[in-house]
Amino acid sequence: MLAAALFSCATPAFRTARGASQAKGERIVTDEVGRRVKIPAEVHRIVTLAPNLTETVYALGLGDRLVGDTNFCDTPPAAKQKPHVGSPQDPSIEAIAVLHPDLVLATTSINRLDTAVALERAGIPVYTTDPETVNGMLDSITHVADAAGASEQGVALVAQLHARLDGLHARLSERPMVHVLFVVWDQPLTTIGQNTFIADALRYAGAESIILSDRKWPEVNIEEVVRLQPDYIVFTAEHSGAGVTDVAGLRARPVWKDLDAVESGHVANVSEEIVRPSPGLIDVIEQLAHELHPEAFATGSETRRNSESEIRFAFEMKEKHTACAR
């Protein structure tokens, strides 16, 4: 009896919530996973559910429209001050609803489909991006900008980023690809597959993973690495699962110390931004390209990071350590 009463009021409520919002000036947009999203004409309040989306929003100059993000969103530092809605995997639907967003941004790389469905049921528009490649990421930026009604900024930003990538390509097109082992995880030793975002990013930096696999995160035996002898080993810094990441440490590790790359100190640490489909990625690609192909940049100066973003990176060369500011 109780249950009957309770959900007799709940089920119609679903319908009214969804049906009621046929307001004027609404657009229907198809997002990158094929879902149809009803976005209001003016988007003033945005909630992001992933760090890369937060970064993108700021890069588009829409930081003041951001009313909520996740507790992992740290770039730029201003993002940490925004109200948090929880973790990307399990945000609180209620906390999002309370912020009355006009648009929520999600991405397949870190969010769950269930979250999007739950938000939709609550009558909140969710735009989901699905960046598989670096180019795809640039397209996502355009789509997000369009969805948020900031198409001009989107076009400008993407053009800028494209220009930098083209510049890189110009310098590196003649050079042979550097063969790298990109270490995702230490125990078990895991690297990236051919079809991952990171692999694509690496290619832009003039690097190619020595492991060819269709799986996303293939596990590899250290012996295989010895056999293939990569030119460089690339770690992401400050990542506890990556194990030993500095040259000195590696030189003390059995098997690893005999690798050519370790012996010649060809160990690179890059920021975690490399896994993030966001504008800051271009900075990382450039930095990595500098390290892997120093000869290509002998004449030019180091590319300055985008003055609008507040990210700082460093990466290790030979024996130097630098930490990533978060």
Partner: protein, 338 residues
């Protein structure tokens, strides 16, 4: 000599419903957005009489669209799991049986994984696939668990355990060959999670719940007798074969239902029947309905805690029931030394 009367059953259930109602109201009250009890009562009342215009849109959104569906889902899952647990304990003649012991949840998990591999972005597919996996497992274990054409408790238990292990191994295998993005969904699913809305309208799921619990209830007198010995029950006129089949199918369907919508929430099916026994006796005519309501109460409380303890982060419900469940279970085990 005071035999169990329908009136006593009714009163016990009424009392438990009262507790459930209080739990629901408290759960509706807690959350990021502040609402008072008065707001809740007014909203619920207006919603029941369909006066939508009287409800402020924020309340409608928060109370009716976000909190209430989740609570209703929790009630469904709690009732399903505890009833199934009570049923399996009788069927398998084992007080330590829980709804997952026969591998139904592993089958559902396997169905879910396969759907994630095949079509990751289709909403609702994962739940349908999970239920299909559960049904397949139920059927397989049934045929393996027969002896002489009839369900035999010991054989059934063995068949279930073997199937569960096999399916778990298959799941492990698939999880290591899957890409990183898909694993994320599975982790939540395996731990038990109420934040995913059910694919089907809750009405149908409740309908299924009522039918399944009802069928088990019709066998509750029979179960009381079967618990004193299957042979004896047979001599007293119980159709043991049919009762076991009904309890098996209904309990498995309930488990499959719960697991498809919320993953494997542990301890509910095991503990609630025992707690109800301690409070109201071992008679199944009261145990079945009381466990159902008791399970609903437990899940509502656990989910409320999961939502609010470290807000805005949400803990998985399964973690809460495990944290609360383990000490209670140990306590119960020690008490059994009578």
């Amino acid at each position: 000599m005071r035999p169990l009367t329908p009136r006593r059953v009714f009163l016990i259930c009424l009392g438990l419903c009262g507790v459930l109602f209080v739990a629901v109201v408290i759960s509706l009250r807690l959350g990021a957005y502040p609402v008072s009890v008065a707001d809740i009562v007014m909203t619920l009342f207006n919603a029941t009489v369909h006066r939508w215009d009287q409800i402020p849109p924020d309340f409608q959104s928060i109370i009716l669209n976000i909190r209430l569906p989740r609570i209703l889902l929790g009630i469904l899952v709690g009732a399903a799991l505890s009833t199934a647990g009570g049923g399996f304990q009788a069927l398998l003649r084992n007080p330590l049986a829980d709804p997952y012991v026969l591998g139904v949840s592993s089958g559902a998990a396997l169905g879910a994984i396969i759907s994630l591999v095949v079509a990751p972005h289709t909403p609702g597919l994962i739940q349908a696939a999970a239920f299909a996996g559960a049904v397949a497992t139920i059927t397989a274990v049934y045929f393996l668990g027969r002896r002489g054409g009839q369900l035999d408790s010991a054989t059934l238990l063995l068949a279930g355990i073997v199937t569960a292990s096999f399916l778990s191994a298959a799941i492990m295998f698939l999880m290591t060959t899957l890409s990183g993005r898909d694993l994320r969904g599975m982790a939540f699913w395996l731990m038990g999670d109420l934040s995913s809305p059910a694919a089907l309208d809750l009405k149908w799921l409740y309908f299924l719940l009522v039918i399944a619990v009802g069928s088990i209830y019709t066998t509750s007198s029979d179960l009381n007798l079967i618990l004193t010995g299957e042979q004896e029950a047979h001599h007293l006129g119980v159709n043991v074969h049919r009762v076991k089949l009904v309890v098996y199918v209904a309990s498995s369907v309930l488990t499959g239902l719960a697991v498809s919508v919320s993953g494997s929430i542990g301890y509910v099916g095991l503990l609630v029947p025992h707690v109800i026994r301690m409070m109201f006796g071992t008679d199944y005519r009261v145990l079945i309905p009381a466990s159902a309501i008791g399970g609903a109460i437990l899940i509502v409380v656990a989910d409320t805690l999961a939502r609010t303890v470290v807000a805005p982060t949400e803990l998985p419900v399964g973690a809460m029931t495990a944290i609360a469940g383990a000490p209670v279970f140990i306590y119960l085990m020690r008490r059994r030394v009578r």
